[in-house]
């Protein structure tokens, strides 16, 4: 008994002494091994600059599980101070749930803000007008095509100017080379890919380019939606894109990592990371001379125009219930620095949001990304709203029905609308 008392007293003394030298701690959550690696130097910088201890909690899990864990903790009030959000679509819902702390003032006052591309600034603003995330990286997708395959068959490699031209080009490829002409991710197995990497690129260039109306309701009954589904239908019905792999698990493995390098698939949508990680120098099966062999087109609009759709890639946000909100905000600005952006770009292959990155020596080494970075100047975006995650799932299901040839474009639209209404209630859909 006496020993315990003495031990306790010693501990109290120790803690009293050490409290004087005790540094504040902030917890940062990150996921995906590459993201964790990319943040290492930034974490060190934050620790040095503000004299705090940064505890990085790594949630090495796929997006869905990471989000589940993060949301559970946010709901219970036990989440880390700073965290990255795997997809833009999740942000609006988290704002509505009151999980994120607004950073509008701080971000506008921060000197890096002025150097951001407009599209990044716009994407960061939530429907209620406040900014809740640091939009430091952009995800930009284009159509990647095999120049060599097209050249050999004498097919034009010019940028297609409309949906019809795009489809015609794909049909030409099929006819003259026998290879699949164009891949748009579709189906349930691809998860949110059907929406993220396919559908949304079509929508921005369509007759009804936005999915959210002024009231924040989801406008899914527009003609553009139907027409976008029709593009899918034509690709599928005319056998211009591989369908079998998309119906099974790991649907991207066969088309992107086998068919495309082998030239059996001539074009596919992909993100800026594809040049480096899927088919380039960091890939396991690189295509030799990839920048010469693989070219890029932007997704054309329905009847013209070029649309470079940008999404927020891994936006960072602050836990509204954090004990150290002010400190977290300062750390957040650090994450927005050009150095961090370049570090991410090198490891994950997304595009830095800051125009200044173009002058950064390390970034210039990523030659494949430089032109895409410049293209972000004219980036467009989809206005985000609560419920986008459900929309993405609805699109996945609608395209699944198209893959199975069970319906047509109008039917696919109905599937989407019905699903969203069922899940979120009738009031959510216009």
């Amino acid at each position: 008994m006496k020993k315990t008392v003495i031990g306790g007293l010693c501990a109290i003394l120790l803690s009293a002494v050490s409290t004087l030298a005790h540094a504040e701690t902030i917890r940062i959550a990150n996921h995906g091994q590459s993201g964790i690696d990319a943040m290492k130097s930034t974490v060190e910088k934050i620790e040095k600059k503000y004299g705090v201890t940064v505890e990085v909690v790594e949630y090495p899990a796929p997006d869905k599980d990471y989000l589940t864990k993060l949301l559970t903790e946010l709901g219970a009030g036990n989440a880390p101070d700073l965290f990255s959000i795997p997809t833009t679509a999740a942000v609006a819902d988290m704002v509505e749930a009151g999980y994120l702390a607004p950073v509008t003032k701080e971000i506008k006052a921060w000197d890096g803000y002025a150097k951001f591309y407009d599209v990044a600034k716009q994407l960061a603003v939530s429907p209620d007008g406040e900014t809740y995330v640091m939009p430091f990286m952009l995800g930009i997708q284009e159509i990647y095509y095999r120049k060599d395959v097209l050249d050999k068959a004498g097919i034009s490699t010019e940028q297609p100017k409309s949906w019809k031209e795009l489809l015609d080009r794909a049909a030409e490829i099929k006819k003259k080379t026998g290879a699949y002409g164009l891949l748009f991710p579709a189906g349930v197995s691809w998860g949110s890919g059907a929406f993220d990497e396919g559908f949304q690129h079509l929508i921005v260039g369509s007759k009804t380019p936005q999915l959210v109306d002024a009231d924040g309701k989801l406008d899914l009954n527009g003609e553009g939606v139907k027409d976008a589904f029709d593009v899918y239908k034509q690709l599928i019905d005319n056998d211009l894109m591989p369908t079998q792999p998309l119906l099974g698990p790991e649907p991207w493995v066969v088309p992107k990592y086998q068919m495309f390098p082998a030239g059996k698939l001539a074009a596919t949508t992909c993100g800026s990371w594809c040049y480096i990680f899927d088919w380039g120098r960091e890939s396991k099966n690189p295509i030799p001379d990839v920048t010469k062999v693989v070219g890029t087109w932007t997704v054309p609009g329905q009847s013209g125009g070029q649309y470079v759709l940008a999404n927020l890639a891994a936006p960072w946000a602050i836990n509204a219930k954090s004990a150290n909100v002010e400190l977290a905000k300062k750390a957040l600005m650090e994450i927005g620095s050009v150095e961090t952006q370049v570090s991410y770009a090198a490891r994950i292959g997304n595009i830095p949001s800051s125009k200044d990155a173009a002058q950064n020596a390390d970034f210039q080494k990523l030659t494949e990304l430089v032109p895409i970075h410049a293209a972000a100047e004219n980036g467009t975006f989809l206005k985000q709203a609560s419920g986008f995650g459900t929309v993405a799932e609805g699109v996945a299901r609608a395209t699944e029905a198209l893959l199975r040839k069970e319906t047509d474009a109008a039917g696919a639209q109905k599937i989407l609308v019905d699903y969203v209404k069922e899940t979120l209630g009738d009031e959510a859909v216009k």
């Binding site: 509505e96 749930a97 999980y99 349930v188 079998q244 698990p249 790991e250 493995v253 899940t423």
Partner: protein, 311 residues
């Protein structure tokens, strides 16, 4: 205690009273040692289950507006799910899945293994270790292993095996989805059946078989008239346990088919996941779970009554 009794009557009374007191004390002691288990189960299993029942009447979600201000919505979740054809489909699929893999597949193969392993042959330890392997593999890994086996059309391992024998491979998970997942789940659970049934088999004394053999009984007769009836209690215990475990299977099937194609393999657990966790809706998911639980309960009680098992 009482003073020494004199008459036999008093003696008996004293003994019986002592036993009553003793029994009550024993009961209390028994309850005492059961207490830690009870406490843990109540806190970590029963409470969350009851809370889920409560959630099923709300529109609680992990994110979105409902996360901030959940509302009590009465039986709206239940109405929605009972009206959903996909829910009933999920029940049917789950039923077929349980019957196919647990009641038939695992049981038959487990029984054969158990019976075969009783013979004095070589390599018994090797055989039983190999048969155990599927159960030892964690779900995530088992999922990838079978993706490698079944997906990808011609590249799938199964396709290669089959074409070796001259059969044209198909896209297995697309053409035979339900059969495939039944096979995969059977593969996974043979060991459980084998272990339980081996134990059950070992309760049957060899003498009975000897006697039967001397009477000229054939192996199949011995099996039908001796083995099966005497093993009934084990078999029923196995059925109960495996049915419950199979209903809860999620990860393995989700990794392979995500519940597709077109809901052909959408088990109740996957239906819950697809319906609720894609949109992070806890309320709806809880409602489906509760209904699944009720149905299992009804089936379980009916099953036990029908078999008249003594527990």
């Amino acid at each position: 205690m009482l003073a020494s009794p004199n008459s036999p009557f008093e003696r008996v009374t004293e003994l019986s009273m002592a036993r009553n007191v003793h029994e009550r004390r024993t009961e209390r002691q028994l309850l005492l040692i059961l207490l830690p288990s009870l406490a843990l189960l109540l806190a970590f299993v029963i409470y969350p289950a009851l809370y889920s029942v409560y959630l099923s009447f709300t529109n609680e979600a992990l994110t979105g507006a409902a996360a901030l201000r959940p509302r009590f919505v009465g039986i709206r979740n239940y109405a929605r799910l009972l009206n959903d054809a996909k829910f009933w489909n999920a029940l049917l699929v789950t039923f077929l899945f349980v019957v196919g893999s647990a009641v038939i597949g695992q049981f038959v193969l487990g029984l054969i293994s158990a019976v075969a392993l009783r013979r004095r042959i070589h390599f018994r330890r090797l055989f039983s270790s190999i048969i155990l392997l599927p159960n030892a593999a964690p779900e995530v890994v088992a999922g990838f292993m079978w993706i490698s086996m079944l997906a990808g059309g011609e590249q799938a391992t199964l396709s290669r095996i089959v074409s070796f024998f001259g059969v044209t491979p198909a896209d297995w998970l697309q053409v035979f989805p339900l059969s495939m997942i039944i096979i995969v789940n059977t593969w996974r659970g043979i060991a459980t059946a084998m272990i339980l049934l081996t134990a059950g088999l070992s309760t049957i004394p060899n003498e009975i078989y000897e006697a039967a053999r001397m009477d000229g009984a054939t192996p199949s007769q011995m099996f039908r008239r001796i083995t099966l009836p005497l093993m009934m209690p084990t078999i029923l215990l196995y059925m109960l346990i495996s049915a419950v475990s199979t209903i809860a299977v999620f990860g393995l099937v989700y990794a392979l088919t995500r519940g597709g194609p077109g809901g052909a393999t959408e088990l109740v657990s996957i239906y819950i996941y697809n319906q609720s966790f894609t949109a992070f809706q806890l309320g709806y998911g809880a409602a489906v779970a509760v209904v699944a639980l009720l149905i299992s309960l009804v089936l379980g009680i009916g099953y036990v009554r029908a078999m008249k098992v003594e527990v």
